[in-house]
């Protein structure tokens, strides 16, 4: 009998081997060589495939919410102004702009001869329509509440009037300009004026974009076609990079980078998130600043970066990213060095000599959050605090933790946009999304001044002060701006990092 079993096993293996051989190289519909070899065949068609781990939530640029969607749509749409890699803005659909001296209105000049990707000219009416549509979707509580009106004249000037002085509003006008005529089809056949244009989208699988022949910037983009392929997670993405089916993937961890084959080089940037353990400042014992500070001292933040990101993350001490160089307050980084003895002392002062028990809620959409929570729990054990971990779906997290604020602590990352106020708005005591229930009148007062300030120097000063207040209060435990390691195929060049959600494909080219 053993012989027969052996025979059938051999038969099985043969079948499998044949099947596998039959499948490898050529008959892959152009998707390339089997061993992740040098040529993918995509160089010939001047196209690349980018792996993304988040599904596209909307093709309508005004309704797109997730960072993952915004960084993809960045290639298809442009606003009057566009973010630059340096964190500034530059003219795009507008050819020039000026913010009035008292910061109550902004004047734009429409770029001469600019068209949408389908060749129809962009009119001032399209601009007015787009900004109003976006403002309507953003709603009352948003930055657009200070938008008074938009005056468009036929000579191509657009004046955006504000109801109060604000120098940061211009950053909001990176919102996409779309044709009014396409209002009904914006979800199914989006039209924009970015370097690439929409080709096809299969939910949960891939989005294909093609070169926009009418793009205003000479010689851009270099590539003819880009496919954003949706993969379950970055681990699967790494296998597919090695397999030759993907060319570029970002958000890799050091462990994953180690497993890449030598067809790739890696660029290090930052994710531009403030990741940390956010504490509900209203529940005991986190309502006591001493306890929050004690936790800060108890946590070895460098170890978190070492364990999860090969030490490449930027350790932070406040709610701001280092990439916003102009505003970032680096002094806060070393305010609470790893010092368990000090932590114990502070706990004793606060009356928690014997520690306490609490639960950390962790959304399950980004694996390093769980790792961070586990390492934090491990550190806290040393000082006698028991931290339980509860992994929940991101959707439940949004409703229970973020909206209803029913939690003690949560490990998560918060982001912001180009306008500096976006990083602090969640800490205003009255903010609807102040999910940490942080409340400090001094903070609110300076925040109001910072937003209203017109003088750039003064503004910077206020924002740095705000960061210091958050650090002094230990409002939450700010851990790191996680490292963003991007794998890029050796044959490609030009990748740049932005301090906002953007993967700019228009600058990528084959060597």
């Amino acid at each position: 009998m053993k012989r027969k079993i052996l025979c059938s096993l051999i038969a099985l293996v043969t079948v499998l081997a044949l099947a596998a051989c039959g499948k490898t190289p050529d008959n892959q519909g152009g998707s390339g060589s089997s061993n992740g070899g040098e040529s993918t065949g995509r160089e010939a068609t001047n196209s690349v495939v980018v792996g993304i781990t988040q599904d596209i939530d909307s093709l309508d640029p005004h309704n797109a919410v997730s960072a993952g969607t915004r960084e993809v749509l960045f290639n298809m749409f442009e606003g009057l102004v566009q973010p630059t890699p340096e964190g500034e803005i530059e003219p795009a659909v507008a050819s020039e702009f000026t913010v009035s001296e008292d910061a109550t209105f902004i004047t734009f000049q429409l770029r001469d001869g600019i068209t949408f990707c389908d060749g129809t000219p962009i009119t001032v009416q399209d601009v007015k329509y787009s900004i109003e549509r976006y403002a309507g979707i953003q709603g009352e509580g948003s930055a657009f509440s200070i938008l008074k009106d938009i005056v468009a004249s036929e000579d191509g000037t657009i004046v955006v009037n504000l109801s109060e002085p604000n120098t940061e509003f211009v950053y909001e006008l990176t919102c996409a300009i779309i044709p009014q005529a396409n209002d009904a089809n914006v979800n199914t056949n989006p039209i924009g004026s970015g370097p690439f244009m929409y080709d096809s989208f299969i939910p949960g699988e891939e989005l294909v974009i093609k070169k926009n022949p009418n793009y205003w910037k000479e010689g851009r983009p270099y590539l003819d076609e880009v496919t954003f392929k949706i993969v379950a997670d970055t681990d699967k993405a790494v296998t597919q990079l090695n397999a030759g089916t993907l060319d570029i993937v970002q958000y890799l961890t050091s462990d994953q980078v180690m497993t890449l084959n030598d067809n790739f080089y890696v660029m290090d940037g930052s994710i531009n998130y403030v990741q940390g353990m956010f504490l509900n400042n209203k529940v005991e014992p986190f309502n006591d600043p001493l306890v929050r500070q004690a936790i800060y001292y108890a946590i070895d933040r460098q170890n978190i970066s070492d364990m999860l990101f090969g030490g490449k993350s930027h350790i932070i001490g406040t709610n701001m990213i280092p990439a916003a160089t102009k505003y970032y307050n680096a002094d806060t980084e070393d305010q609470y060095p790893y010092d368990p003895a000090k932590a114990k002392e502070l706990l004793k002062q606060a009356g928690y000599e014997n520690g306490f028990t609490f639960t950390i809620q962790v959304p399950n959409n980004y694996p390093p959050h769980k790792g961070t929570a586990e390492i934090i729990a491990n550190c806290l054990e040393e000082v006698g605090i028991t931290a339980k971990i509860n992994e929940i779906e991101f959707t439940s997290w949004l409703s229970d933790v973020y909206k209803d604020r029913k939690y003690e602590a949560t490990v998560v990352a918060v982001d912001g946009r180009l306008a500096p106020y976006t990083w602090f708005a969640k800490n205003e005591s009255t903010a609807s999304n102040n999910f940490t229930n942080y409340s400090n009148p001094q903070f609110d007062e300076i925040f109001a001044k910072a937003k209203a300030a017109i003088d750039p120097e003064e503004k910077v000063g206020y924002y740095k002060q705000l960061q210091q207040i958050l650090a002094d209060d230990a409002a939450s435990i700010y851990v790191q701006d996680p490292a963003n390691q991007v794998a890029i195929r050796n044959t490609l060049t030009g990748y740049v990092f932005y301090p906002v959600s953007a993967q700019d494909m228009s600058v990528i080219k084959y060597k």
Binding site: M1, A17, A19, A20, Q28, P203, Q240, A243
Partner: protein, 313 residues
């Protein structure tokens, strides 16, 4: 005939109950599709507007009524997660992949388990039986996702026979798709093969002890003659039922294996739809699976009756 009518009625009642349960469940679990879709920067006004647009502000009963009315006409509505995409379009693309995976797994189970089961039943030596039992017992206990990981490690990472994620849809390259699906199919099928082998050999063995077998031997039939003429036919009856259960388990088990091998099937669709609270999609997927399982049970009953007329249904 009466039986068939009764079964069909039962089928519809079961599907109706399932669809109601899903509606109720989705109205009580935390968060809804609007929150899932708008994410972290949503303002309360935005959520309210989207809820109204999705019809989530209407009472549960009203929503269910309209959903049911449309579903009965074959219209399962639009996905909440993907604006403007019909649930049926979403499903149609995924269904083929999952069906193919289940089919390949089932074929493997049938092809391998029946011959191995018969050989295993014929063995008399203690050692051979012991070996056989040990092998089947061990194989039965391997969780299919673990098996999936082992297969990925061996064939994808070490041997490079295939690459996880390189799946091509069968409509583009049928044989390419089949070749890829062989690996997840093994992960699903192997434990089931072991279960079927064990079941079949037990079934044959208990049949071999029956009176008619002794009579046949007495009449001078050879061992193999008895086995293939009489015993096999009778012992296949319970095996058919068992295979029916296996089919249902394959369909359910593929949900996780699809994740391991990144197969874009209805399993992964279901998991994301639940996360996004996209209940039109969940309804459609679950009803489809439930329909399939119930129909399979029904077919099994019919075959059971056809093979063994003593069974009254």
């Amino acid at each position: 005939m009466k039986y068939i009518v009764k079964k069909i009625i039962t089928l519809f009642v079961a599907l109706l109950l399932i669809s109601i349960i899903i509606f109720v469940v989705f109205s009580v679990i935390p968060a809804d599709a609007s929150i899932a879709k708008l994410g972290i920067d949503a303002t309360p006004e935005q959520i309210a507007a989207l809820r109204a647009q999705m019809g989530l502000d209407k009472p549960l009963f009203e929503r269910y009524f309209w959903w049911l009315a449309n579903a009965l006409q074959g219209n399962f509505g639009e996905s909440f997660q993907y604006t403007g995409v019909k649930v049926t379009t979403l499903l149609a693309r995924r269904l083929g992949n999952s069906a193919l995976l289940s089919l390949i797994s089932f074929i493997m189970v049938v092809i391998f388990s029946i011959p191995i089961g018969i050989f295993s039943a014929k063995r008399r030596s203690v050692v051979a039986r012991g070996t056989m039992t040990t092998i089947t017992q061990i194989t039965m206990g391997i969780p299919s996702f673990f098996l999936g990981l082992l297969l990925t490690y061996l064939f994808s990472l070490v041997l490079h026979w295939f690459y996880v994620g390189q799946f091509v849809s069968p409509s583009e390259d049928f044989f390419g798709a089949c070749a890829y699906l062989i690996f997840p199919a093994i992960a699903i099928a192997l434990p089931k093969i072991a279960m079927t082998v064990k079941f079949l050999s037990n079934s044959i063995r208990s049949e071999l002890h029956k009176d008619y077998v002794r009579t046949a031997y007495a009449k001078g039939s050879t061992r193999d003659g008895v086995l293939y003429k009489h015993v096999l036919k009778n012992s296949m009856v319970p095996v058919i039922t068992f295979l029916g259960i296996i089919v249902a388990e394959i369909v359910a088990g593929s949900v996780i294996v699809e994740q391991v091998f990144s197969v874009p099937g209805i399993g992964s669709l279901l998991v994301t739809a639940i996360t996004n609270r996209d209940y039109p999609v969940v309804e459609a997927v679950v009803l489809l699976i439930a329909f399939f399982v119930i129909v399979i049970n029904f077919i099994v009953d019919m075959i059971y009756q056809a093979v063994d007329p003593r069974v009254k249904l």
